[in-house]
Each structure stands twice: as structure tokens, then as C-alpha cells.
Amino acid sequence: MNGINPWLQTHWDWRAAGNFITGGCGSGLLLITAVATLRGGPVTELTLLSLALVLVGLALVWFELGRPWRFLHVFFNPHTSWLTREAIVAMPLLALGLAAASTGWLSLLWIAAIAGIAFLYCQGRILVAAKGIPVWRTPRIMGLILTSGIAEGCGVYLLVIPWLEPETMGEIYPALLTLLLILIGGRLAAWWAYRDSLKDKAPKAALEVIDRSSSIFIAVGHIAPTLAVMLAWLFPEARLVWGVVAGVLAALAGWFIKTVIITRAAFNQGYAVEHSPARGGGKSGPGTKPGWE
């Protein structure tokens, strides 16, 4: 039986985290694929990979449902539920992405990429609306979800493109490395803003998990990729290796921090009393908020 201190929620486990990881990364990859077409980047394979990632995320959510065969009910509440909105946005995202991959039409790809950003936005709002979990409900998590999803997508692009299109790589790679630096810079700023917003706004146990993970996230997801990008610029002959290293680390760190936030730091609100009662001839006094002091 649970006690009086906030405890770790277990209803959204690794499967839910998986949706935020692959769905976010897939949306980000779709946007980067569209952006990279400005320098002649390929469309079909990377678009299909993006869609596959989004689909894996949706499948993971399906596996988490208590009544999976009622899944169509998820579309019933577009008025207020961001989960419904995410599911609705996924439809044009998948359809347009598939159409773009099969026809190669860039206009379709750009519209699909915009749907991907809407999908990512829904993911952030899903967390903000979860009022029972203090480390999710802060609006500052939006910046983190958005920047991390796009940075992860950029990281996966850097990993995949050398094997996919070695001949066009020379055109795209330097620009993508710069873009990755900008994205992880934005993500780092979003992370600091997010952590700052949790000050006195989350249970002690949750903050301990967040702070323990912070240094790993910053080192692996930001400092190390920045160094790798610098090495890629300094040693053009080894640019590919360092680019891949930077991309993989940027993506892995995003997946890591999402796993931490969804499954490890997700302590619930717990209970609180504003005042203790007078009871009998005694005197009333201050209240308590177990697990927060």
C-alpha cells in the first residue's frame, strides 16, 4: 500500500516513454529531412524512417492500454484532450508523409513536417496537462520536448545520411553539424529553464532524480557533441566519424532524459494539509506536506 509521501507513478511506464522518445525523434527527423532538402537531401528513405519511428511510438502506447481493442475511442475528445489531438494529428502526419515518400513531392513533405511539429507540440501539452505529476506539469517542459525532439531527429539524420547518400553528404553535413550545435544549445537553455521552474514545485525525491540525471544529460547530450562537432571541423578527413558521434550522443541524451522524466522522476503530488486541527481542548497549528519539505 502506498504511503503518505509522493510515490513514483507506474501507470505510464517504458511504453509511454517510448512514445515520447520515438514519436518525438520521428517528428524531429521529418522536419530535418524537409530542411535538408534545401541542400539536396534525400526524401524517401528518411521520410519512411520518420514515419516508422512515429508508428512505433503509437504502437507502444497501444500496448499500454488496458482495453486495447477500444483504441478508436481515443478520438472522442478533441475538445480538451491533448491525447486525442495527438492521435488526430498523427493521421495527416502519416498520410502526408507516406504520400511525400512515394511521390517525392517536397510540398507534401513540408506539410507533413509541419504536422510533425504539431505532433511534437501535442506531446508536450500532454505532459503539461498531467496535473498529478509535478515534474511534467510545468509549462517549461514544452521547450524541452520541442528542442529535444528536433535535436534527436538531427542526430539520427547525421547517423543515417552517410550510409544512405554518401555522394550528397558533402553538401549537407557541414550545415547539419552547425544546425545540431544550435539545436543542442537551445535544448540546454530549455533544460535549465525547465529545472529552474521546478524549484520548490516538485517533491524532494523527484528533484533528486532530476538533479542526479542532469549532469549526465548535459555532459553526454551537450558538451560531448559540441566537442565532437569541433573535432569534425578541425579534422575534415574524420568529419564523418565525429559527426556520427555527435549525432548519436545528442539523440541518446534526449532519449535518456525523456526516460528519466517519464519513468524515474514522475513522483505524484502526494497529500497536504494546510492546518492541523485543534481537536478537543488543543490548539490548531501549521499543516504539513509530506515529501516536499
Binding site: 500500500m1 502506498n2 503518505i4 507513478q9 501507470h11 505510464w12 502506447v61 499500454e64 492500454l65 488496458g66 482495453r67 486495447p68 477500444r70 483504441f71 475511442h73 481515443v74 478520438f75 472522442f76 475528445n77 480538451t80 484532450s81 491533448w82 491525447l83 486525442t84 492521435a87 500532454i126 496537462a129 498531467a130 496535473k131 498529478g132 505529476i133 511534467w136 514522475a266 505524484n268 503530488q269 502526494g270 497529500y271 497536504a272 494539509v273 494546510e274 492546518h275 492541523s276 486541527p277 485543534a278 481537536r279 478537543g280 488543543g282 490548539k283 490548531s284 497549528g285 501549521p286 499543516g287 504539513t288 509530506p290
Partner: protein, 227 residues
């Protein structure tokens, strides 16, 4: 229109958990599921320490976050403020569970029993297959309210129309009634006593009020704080 609310007098609650047992008995909840329970909190620092017993459960919020996030519209709010779950619509996504800041919702995916090896006769009798894999929580015994109203009874006054936990309370610590009616039992209690609602800063407007002192005896601690 009525707005049903619960009042818990913290001065009276002795933490006996009779309400918890009455709720389980009435609603046949699975092992580990407690739609109503009483917290045993320790307040203060040694040597000035006291215990506070706090009944908790679904707060039937006026702005229920569980309802807003529900993708299926399974969670709804009646005109009288009672928040309900349609087990046939719910897909068991668990979103409402993480959206509730009162830890009031549960999900049981597999049939459970009190004794691991053997299912007891009453567990066969009270099987609730519709509750498996979906969200569940306190209903304010809405079936009792509705049945009572149809038969001309007053919820909170007539036991047949009152939630089981309130009926069972040995100390009259739990009181149920219509807050829209200024002459109701709950309205009078709130007029005569100082009260708070849990996690009010989250703007859920809970329908569960905790009395902590009478208004006439404004306590020293509070006066000191105001000064």
C-alpha cells in the same frame, strides 16, 4: 441545482478506517484499491508533534483535470458535480490517473483476490469484469444519491441516499450534502468553521472540504501568522 460535496472534520476523525471498510464493502473494490482511505499524518517536530487523520479519495473537483485529459469522454461531470467514469468507453490509457493530483484513481488489469491461491465465495459473487483494464474511483455512491432522490430522500440526511463512508463514520467526521443549499448540513458547517481544500493552488476546485477549527475560536497560531 444541487452540488454535492463532502466535509471532513479533522477535529473529529480518529483514523479508524471504518469509512475505508464500508466503501470496500459497498463497492466491492479489488485488493489494493481504496476509493476512500484515511491518511495518518505526523505534524510538527519533536517534541511538539501531533497526528492528523485525513480522509481522502476522489475530490469530485469542479474543474477535474481527469475529465479534461480523458481522450474518450469516459470521465464526465454530472450537473450535480459528481465526476463519473463510463467503464464501457474507457480504454485504460491511464492518463486520468497521472492527471489526478489526489491519487484517487486506480487501474486493475488482471483479476485479483485477497488470498493468492484461492478465490473466496464473495469474490466470485462480486466479480466486476467491467472494471478490469479501465480507470476506477470513488463515485460519491451516486447510485445511492440517485435512488434516494427518486424516492424523495435527502442525500446526506437520509442514510439510504448517503454515501456509505459517511453512514459508517463512527465520529460524525464525514458529512455529505448540497453546498448550493445555504441551509444544508454542509453549508452550515462551512459557515461555522474554518476550512481548507487540498492542493487549492492547482485550481481544481475540489468538492471536499476539511474543517480544522471553529471560527469562534480563532487560534493563536493563525493570529500570530496574520500579525
Amino acid at each position: 441545482m444541487s452540488r454535492w460535496v463532502m466535509v471532513a472534520d479533522l477535529n473529529r476523525c480518529v483514523g479508524c478506517q471504518t469509512c475505508t471498510a464500508a466503501c470496500k464493502h459497498t463497492n466491492a473494490t479489488a485488493p489494493g484499491v481504496q476509493w476512500r482511505k484515511v491518511l495518518d499524518l505526523e505534524v510538527g517536530e519533536y517534541p511538539d508533534v501531533s497526528r492528523v487523520f485525513v480522509p481522502v479519495g476522489c475530490q469530485h473537483c469542479a474543474e477535474p483535470p481527469c475529465m479534461h485529459v480523458c481522450p474518450t469522454t469516459a470521465t464526465r461531470q454530472r450537473e450535480d458535480g459528481v465526476v463519473t467514469i463510463d467503464y464501457d468507453l474507457c480504454i485504460g490509457c491511464g492518463y486520468c490517473i497521472v492527471a489526478c493530483p489526489y491519487q484517487a484513481r486506480f487501474k486493475v488489469t488482471d483479476p485479483t483476490q485477497a488470498y493468492r491461491q484461492k478465490r473466496m465465495p464473495q469474490e466470485w459473487k462480486n466479480e466486476q469484469p467491467e472494471r478490469l483494464g479501465v480507470a476506477q474511483k470513488c463515485t460519491f455512491c451516486s447510485d445511492r444519491i440517485d435512488h434516494g432522490l427518486v424516492n424523495g430522500l435527502t442525500p446526506g440526511i437520509d442514510p439510504e441516499a448517503t454515501p456509505a463512508c459517511v453512514n459508517a463514520c463512527i465520529a460524525d467526521a464525514l458529512v455529505f450534502g448540497d453546498i448550493e443549499d445555504t441551509s444544508s448540513n454542509v453549508s452550515q458547517l462551512l459557515a461555522e468553521n474554518q476550512y481548507f481544500r487540498m492542493h487549492e493552488e492547482l485550481e481544481t476546485e475540489p468538492g471536499f472540504y476539511y474543517l480544522w477549527d471553529s471560527k469562534s475560536d480563532k487560534n493563536e497560531w493563525d493570529s500570530g501568522r496574520e500579525a
